[in-house]
Symmetry: D2
């Protein structure tokens, strides 16, 4: 049995450790082994190390983290026919059952029996990852795993929310995006590709606003205290028909509600604080708050088409797998622009 | 110029007063004068007298209240052709412009230039009411204005919310209704007529629960402290796909959220307290809060079809217009079952 | 290896023959073996014997027919966890891959790699049937396999079309159903359960019209030559917003189009003749023709809920498996009311 | 009373004639008089002269033709408040009642009491046109009436169909456009603005295909006899999810059906021949035929936003009103690229 390098959680409030473990093999009929080309380093990984997920997942230590993965199919289970060894793939973050009502409806994110590699089982900070036939999306020849790995979770979440938001948007509508960071940055590109609405981006960081304008936003608003007024001015005093909030903390939601038009949709993506709104305001303006979790397998397929077309791009900073600690440290210190990627 | 009796607000924190005023006449081309057959007495009327609407509407006293009206067309403006004198009608509570984007989209409740007779101009506690061509819905011969007047606002609100809720309901879904009072009672009947879902009704009052079961609810839950557990038990531990909250106060929303399944819709109709929910919960369960205001003109047309068919009925207590104070007092004292109606 | 009785096609234009074959066993991880409780005898089975499907399916003779099956789980493959031996199930007519875009979207009927037991592989005129984990729907204790087997295909087709038709139906709308035979009969019950529209049923057979009225149709029209005029009269001269055509031959479509209102939906379910309509008529009335194939797995789950509730019932004539020829003969001679069912 | 020049139909199979008539004035409360800035010359105008519309409209001769109009508000009726003299407007081709069910639902094209200036009453080949408050859409300062007049009908029709088609299009889908002439040319630009789908344009004319590629089509197919094969090749052998047929004659529909994927939508816009398809094919592939008439008032508002943004442009050839005969002759002789516009 051959072995591989893997970066594991060995204890909470401790550093990750590089170790040698057995290369995973297909044991179930629908297993797929992916040779990792890139694994995204996510803020959630920091939270895992802080123990924030310990109780919820009950995952047994040590285990390999990493939930944003892409690479090449290395081996498949006996029943897998739609991918073969060597196929270039991105990995949907969930392993889903395919049989519950949610899975049968294309809404596999709400699978009643799902697994989340990198969170509750071995993930992709390694040379190989075990996932399932239902989780791999073949990608275009033009795309490189290490370039698009971060679209597997962060990008997918942004796609899902933006695509839901886009459904009701017409050329006359305005869509406010709060937060032009990692997710917001993808969300803006997706909104641009999927909807004809005017896009207004709000961020505290003038550079983020500048970037937003460069990738397709129609208006940029620096959140300097007058952001509500600015948005109202840009929307004829009415507010926007749709708002996508990639922040969800620091007062964003209270301000966001003021930027929303009657009958408007408030998409909650970022989180941290409470939505705390009088029911009378919800009723009298007839507004909606729409939750958004990560995207489905279909969402990921669609996002990959946009990526192949160059309609969605993401800045990445690549690190050798052995340099995992530097990547973690840089992320923690706010030194990463875009997304850090580990490449084995 | 002939005159009529009208019950008016003459001052806040004072009793209403009966007075003689001129019978309204069509002055604009789309005006319609309705001879009142029934005017619903609504809790909002009590709030008007308490001055709660004074600042918001800036209505000048004295003025005639009453915003739930039905009767017969008495006179029409020069451009009105779709109704004629003698037509039996129910009156949509709003006068809308017909030209703004909302009106042009069938969403006339969000008209940018609307008027609300009984709230911000003369209403229907009188012998005649001035409304507009866009507000009158011709009703079936089998219906009597005094029987269905309360469907004009209370019923319309319940219809609107229930019809929106019904859109996603399939035979496999459950819909929880919180509150089987005036609105909830209509909402249950509408859900029954429009959707194949299982209906679970929650109310503190055992008699209201009993009534709910009699008019079509599949399960009744008396809110005795164990209502969340009871609903979870009735839904396989998952909660309901859809919930319509006709209460919105006294802790209903916090409990309601616990009765909601992942991906569920929480329809806010009743109001009083705040929706106060962590964004992390909205995101991780991917739930939605849907605001519901009063229904559109189309909603009222549809409700009238259900009423004509006997699919929606409402208990009413009728009072002569001269006995308006008794109706107000009985409502205030909780002595009305269903809806009090003034009949001139 | 134990054996079972099975009724097989041994040659086209020949009688079916009873034979002894091996009881199927799970070989793939997702295989499910169902002990047959009832197998519906369908007009398609007659067409198979006439060789109409020979070229299309290239099925090798001899093989066991029967594509409307229900029974009990007898054995499962290694990866099956959601059903266990003894579970009472109805069998979706298709075995689908679960991995193509259609399957991942809940639209498994358009699976790119499906198999159709009873048509292109061994079916259910037998004691046991081999199907897949993705094809079995657990049914309510109150339902008996031999009572509901015919809902697996005929009923499912009717459900699918009626449920699609119901989506746009409001209380003000009318839905014309052409054909109150086997499928139409189910379709009417489904429309009644799922929509508040007025249902107008058209059939040549006065008894079928009578039955339609008994199970929920609001109006019955005997197609005696004046059916278009009768429908127009029942719809204020405008025609119906939606029409579901379970006939599709003998001039039904040309007449159906005349019964359709501007902006109306014409659902094609029955087939035989051509839709032959000037594009100018399609454009100037802005009408739609909507194709309908058999229903999805989700559709079958929903139909089973209606069946368990008694909202959809079907008349059946039961035959012992050994009497298969009598069932075939009775069907061919038009002596079956409802559906013939073989019970092993 | 002052007079104006107007070009009128004086008899069928005769030339149009320039004459002096009274300038129209507002007589009804919602009348709007528009000073014409541009009036599109449409193939329908040729058909009117050939008498093709005579029986259908029963319009009394002489009357002024021209149904694609834009200009400035010159006078308004007593009840008009949303536009004032001097406003730059495009004119929706229909005058609608605002009160029937279709109008109340935003679907005003199916108004039960509409009028069609230029077809059944005086149109816009003149200095002034009488229309209604419900028909004028204020346009952006950057747009000139003579540049965008042809969007009032031809452009609006293309927008309506393309916007309906776009609703189901995702990044993975393909949309075939048959016909890249006047309407198709607009349709392609609208599809590009509203959807992320891959656009495949089919036309007999290589220059039209070249133009289509220049304005956003992803693939161009010259219809040289192999067009079905070419489209199948571009779509992995499956056909396209959606097809918009701006031709509808000369065999386009039979070929179009072969280019359509299972579950596909065939949008009928152009007309001439019959849709003639076996019901078995509609059922077994579960395809839909979707009719498309002209767009609604809301559609026109949305199209004007795209036009103001430069996302939809149209080539025009301008003629002085006095040169109307030259414009008609050039159109008839196929000498117009884009659209001929009369400017008073």
């Amino acid at each position: 049995m051959s072995t591989m390098r893997a970066v594991q959680v060995v204890g909470y409030h401790q550093h990750l450790e590089m170790t040698e473990v057995a290369i995973p093999e297909p044991t179930g009929p629908f297993d797929v082994i992916v040779k990792i080309g890139g694994a995204g380093v996510c803020r959630t990984d920091l939270h895992i190390l802080e123990g924030q997920w310990a109780e919820k997942t009950q995952v047994q230590l040590p285990y390999t983290i990493g939930h944003e993965n892409a690479g090449w199919v290395a081996a498949v289970g006996s029943a897998v026919t739609h991918v073969v060894e060597g196929d270039k793939v991105i990995v949907h973050p969930l392993i889903t059952c395919g049989l519950c009502r949610a899975c049968r409806s294309g809404d596999d994110v709400h699978c009643e029996n799902s697994q989340f590699p990198g969170i509750d089982s071995h993930g992709g900070y390694a040379e190989y990852l075990k996932t399932s036939a239902r989780s791999v999306v073949t990608i275009d020849d033009a795309l490189e795993p290490s370039d698009i790995a971060a679209l597997a979770d962060a990008g997918l979440t942004a796609y899902h929310a933006a695509a839901k938001a886009a459904r009701r948007l017409t050329p006359r509508d305005r869509c406010v995006v709060i937060g032009a960071g990692g997710l917001g940055h993808i969300g803006i590109q997706v909104l641009k590709a999927l909807s004809p609405a005017e896009i207004i981006v709000v961020d505290r960081n003038p550079d983020a606003v500048k970037l937003a304008l460069a990738i397709g936003a129609d208006h940029g608003v620096v959140a300097d205290g007058s952001q509500v007024e600015q948005v109202l001015e840009l929307t004829g005093g009415h507010g926007a028909e749709v708002l996508v909030d990639f922040v969800g903390e620091g007062g964003a939601t209270a301000e966001g509600v003021q930027m929303l038009r009657r009958s408007g949709d408030y998409h909650v993506v970022g989180y941290g604080e409470n939505i705390d709104v009088p029911t009378i305001d919800i009723v009298s303006a007839e507004i909606n708050f729409i939750g958004n979790l990560v995207g489905s397998y279909n969402d990921l397929c669609e996002l990959m088409v946009l990526a192949a077309r160059g309609a969605v791009t993401l800045h990445t900073a690549k690190y050798a797998l052995d340099d995992f600690q530097a990547a973690i440290d840089d992320l923690d210190a706010g030194r990463i622009r875009g997304r850090a990627i580990l490449t084995p």
